[in-house]
Structures are given as structure tokens and as C-alpha cells.
Symmetry: C2
């Protein structure tokens, strides 16, 4: 793979930023990789792993002469960060991000983007429940989708360039409108996370069941939810604060459907339960067929959990 | 490991029954393994895999001379099955089950248990989203918990024998009251399954988001729910019909908590969201430390999903 951007600036070097750096190294698409964090501790950890060519606590210094600048901090910080770097951006540079919401990011960032800089919001649909500069790895984006939401009138050549970049990092790329992205992600990611956080909180609060019981018997299904509910709290707080409308819309539908199920249980309506339970199997099959999850039972984790146990 | 039961009868040879057979073979705790199914197709599949010494479509024949009889069909069938086998049970035999609910099983089965037969309900907390006689494997119960709920007055020696049996199959064993089991499982298993089925159904019904979008972008969190929502529909229908009170109680708490989160999102209360999101991380850590799940990011499945994709 040949170089696409002589210098890439990563504003934020947590799970996503550091994984991008590893994937850039693997593919050779970036000349110089610059990293920024506002925390000294994070910079030291990044230094230790060694995925960046330069590291700075000053965002303006990080973006200087960069051909691609990527906002990769929690989305609640994008507005003030964009304001700080605006006058230091190189003419012709691409300014992008990896935030999980897109309408709010455009609202917060677009006003600060100087003439001659191409602002192309992006969202790689990839992650793990871990966070920080030591959690990143080069394969994170392999086979996953990255959604670009360029505002109307964005330079087509710049969009094509950013698309090539994400493809070089292992992703498949799709372009859509920001509002559509926010609705799709509300159902495929945001509401599932909210529900997972919620059920884990409910379990933790029950007076009638001890936490020790919950932990011991979690293999019945609960443990899957705890993985998602272990995701970065700051990132997710900002997601919900910034995708309010779509999340509330999907959540309303979810609650309605749950009430109907609750009623079916109360009145012993086995047919209604069976019909739903049989229907949802097909969706799992489609996801496995699309290469978006493993076909192995229990995500193929059985052996690994046991290794851990035996330690 | 030495033989504990000269003959074990498995009434039901799906995921759990067939896994028990494999684990019995591995440990040598059973002399003869007899299997029953009411479906010829299932018997043929079991024959092909070869985990049983004898197979029958007649439950009475299957349990003849058995020292341990295990009900391993969906719990809604236990009552009529117990009635059919009652007079064929050997005096001194242990009658057990693997059902995910225990109070209802005692209600349905106990009236049919003849004098001299030890009825000891059991529930191995283990499973995958797959079902049928070809889905079983010997390691399913390794490191998982099996809960025994012997009614008051049950012969202690028989309970100890069944405990040794499950330990030989790889499990850790805990004894508790049936009502307590049902409440604990409502939170660790039943309500999580209901929520997973529900969100997958909600996603499938949205007019504003296509199913293709849901499938493509499922790596954001949704795909985890689809695994659970791919579990056996008949088994789960029976679970909800037979653990109604505990499920409705936990579901009520879940819905209350979800309404509070919904309100926090609507009013932009970031602190309330952050507080919950930070708290739930600790529970994940405890589950991993207890050996009930893998510590690897994304359940360690990344590589496997990609292999599948590359096929």
C-alpha cells in the first residue's frame, strides 16, 4: 500500500486512535503519525507502546502541517477542540473524526472549520469494551464498516481520499446522511448499550439477589450484557447526550414492544412468545453470513474462559 | 473417575442432553447411556453422532432399570413425561432434570414421583445459542455452576450422589431453594434473554431502518444480542410461561430503571448517565475474575469473525 497522507494527526489516542495508528503502520498509508492527549499519563502510555512518531499535549502543535486530522476524543469535547485547532489547520487538509454520533458533531465542529479545509465526519463501527492507548490493535477495523457523512457540497476528491484511507485500514466504507447514520446507530449500537448498562445496574440494585449470585450464575446470559456495560463511561455519556432524539425514538419502540411481551407473559400467551423467539433467529444467521460475527457457539469463547479459570 | 450410575436415561437429547452424554463418556461416570426423543429425526441424528448406548422413541423403555433419569426436554413437557414414566421407574432411582425453572418443575413433576424414587431437580447454568443433538460437546459444563433444588426431606445420600455426578461432568454444585433459584435466574438469565429477543424484534420492525443496515452495522453492539436471541424458541417460551412471577418482578424493576435513564437522556443529565456507566464496569471485572467469562476483548472473537468473512 502506498502513502496517502504524509502526516496524520490523531487528536485522542485511546482505543480507536491507537488502533488507527497500528493499522496505519501495518498498511503504510501515513508518513508521520502525530498523537495528542490532554493527559500526561495517556501520552506516557502511548510513548511506551510506540505507535506514534510524535506526541504532544498541545493540539495545535499536533495538527501543524497535518494532511489528515482525526478527532478521536469523546464527542462532547469536539467543539472546543475544533475551536482550538482551527487556525492551525493546513489549507487543503481533511478534518475528520471517529465519533459515534454525526448530526451533533457537524453542529459542533462545522462552525469552526476554516475555508479550504475539508470537513468529512466519519464513524468506524468497531470497538471493544476496553479503552486507552494500550487497548488498540491493528486488526480492529478489518471487515468492519466505516460510515462517512460528508455535508452537502463536500469536495468529492477529498471524500474519495478518506475512503481509500479507511479501506487501507481494513474497513468497508459507506456514505450516508448524518441523520440517517444517527438513527441506524441508535438501533444497532446506542440503545443496545443503554439496555446493557441498565440491566447490569438493575441486577446490582436488587436487594433480593446477592451480587455474588449474579456473578456466579452469569453464564445464563447476563455475562454477555456485562461486556457491553464495561465500555468507556465518558464516551457513552456523550453519545447519549448527543443523539437524544434518535435514541428516545428507538427506546420508545423498545419499551412498547417490551410491554407487549410482559403482557404475553402475564396472560400466558405462549404463541406470542414463540412467534417472536422463532423470528429473531433468522437475523442472527444473516449477521453471521454477512461476516459481522463468528458462527462459533458462545462466540467461540468457551475454551478461553476456562483457561482463565484455571490460572 | 469411577462409575456412579450403571444406567443413565436422558429424556431429551438436545444441546444439554447430548452434552451430558459426551461429558459422561469423558468421565466414565455412567455405565449405559440411554436416550429418548419423541422425534424420529432427532433419534437418527443422535445415532449418527453416537453418544448414546441405546435410543428409543418410548420414554418408558428408556427409563427401565435406570439409576438416574434426567428430564431434558422443554420444561412445559415435564408433567406429562413424568406421568408416562412414573410406573416404570426403578425403586431407589434418582429422577432429576435440567430445566431453567425450578418451582414450576416441582409443581408439575412431584405429584407423579412414586414412593422410593428420589426426585432432585437440577439446573446446569450452561448453554449456547445452538440446539439439537449435534450441538452438544463434552466441555459445556466445565467450570459452570449446577444448582440443585431438592425439596425438603430429600434423602441426603441421593443429593450427594447427584452432586458427585455433576462435579464429574465438570461443574461446581450449589444447593438452594427452588424459589430462590427462580429469582436469581430471572435476573441472570431469563430477563436478559427476554430483553435480547425484544430488541432484535424491535430492530426487525423499524420502518425507518432497513434490515440490511441493521445487519451491516451490527458490530456496534447489536450483534451480541442476536446471539442470545437465536436460542431455542420452544425452550424459552416454556421458561417464561413457568417463571412468570419472578420474571415480571425483575422486569418491573428493569423498566423503572430504564425510564429513569430515558428521563436523564431527555433532560441532558450527563452525571446520572456517567454514574451508572462507571458502576457497571466493576461487575464485568468480577465476572471475569470468577472465571465465568473470558477477559479477552470482544470475547476474543475478532479473529474468528474475520476468518468466516474471508471464506
Amino acid at each position: 500500500m502506498s502513502e496517502i497522507f504524509p502526516k496524520v494527526a490523531l487528536l485522542g489516542i485511546g482505543l480507536i486512535g491507537s488502533s488507527m495508528a497500528h493499522a496505519m503502520r501495518r498498511s503504510g498509508v501515513a508518513g508521520h503519525i502525530a498523537g495528542y492527549s490532554h493527559r500526561l499519563e495517556t501520552l506516557e502510555a502511548a510513548q511506551e507502546v510506540g505507535f506514534a512518531d510524535s506526541l504532544s499535549i498541545d493540539p495545535a502543535e499536533c495538527v501543524r502541517d497535518a494532511d489528515l486530522v482525526v478527532l478521536a476524543t469523546p464527542v462532547g469535547t469536539f467543539g472546543s477542540l475544533a475551536e482550538k485547532i482551527a487556525e492551525h489547520l493546513k489549507p487543503g487538509a481533511i478534518l475528520s473524526d471517529v465519533g459515534s454520533v454525526k448530526t451533533a458533531v457537524i453542529r459542533d465542529v462545522a462552525p469552526h472549520v476554516p475555508e479550504g479545509v475539508h470537513f468529512i465526519p466519519a464513524h468506524p463501527i468497531a470497538g471493544t469494551e476496553q479503552s486507552g492507548p494500550k487497548a488498540g490493535f491493528a486488526e480492529l477495523f478489518d471487515g468492519r464498516w466505516c460510515i462517512l457523512t460528508p455535508p452537502p457540497g463536500t469536495d468529492a476528491a477529498a471524500v474519495a481520499k478518506l475512503q481509500s484511507f479507511w479501506e487501507a485500514l481494513g474497513s468497508q466504507v459507506e456514505v450516508m446522511e448524518a441523520a440517517r447514520h444517527d438513527l441506524v446507530l441508535a438501533i444497532t449500537s446506542h440503545v443496545p448499550h443503554l439496555i446493557a448498562y441498565n440491566i447490569v445496574g438493575t441486577a446490582d440494585d436488587l436487594e433480593t439477589v446477592t451480587q455474588s449470585d449474579v456473578i456466579k450464575f452469569s453464564a445464563g446470559g447476563f455475562r454477555d450484557f456485562t461486556r457491553i456495560a464495561a465500555s468507556d463511561p465518558t464516551m457513552w455519556r456523550d453519545v447519549f447526550l448527543n443523539n437524544r432524539e434518535a435514541v428516545l425514538e428507538v427506546l420508545g419502540r423498545f419499551s412498547e414492544d417490551l410491554s407487549a411481551l410482559q403482557r404475553a407473559i402475564r396472560w400466558g400467551d405462549g404463541d406470542a412468545l414463540f412467534t417472536l423467539f422463532a423470528r429473531t433467529r433468522a437475523i442472527r444467521r444473516s449477521i453471521v453470513d454477512a461476516g459481522q460475527d463468528t458462527a462459533a457457539p458462545n462466540f467461540g469463547r468457551g475454551a478461553k474462559a476456562d483457561e482463565k479459570k484455571d490460572q
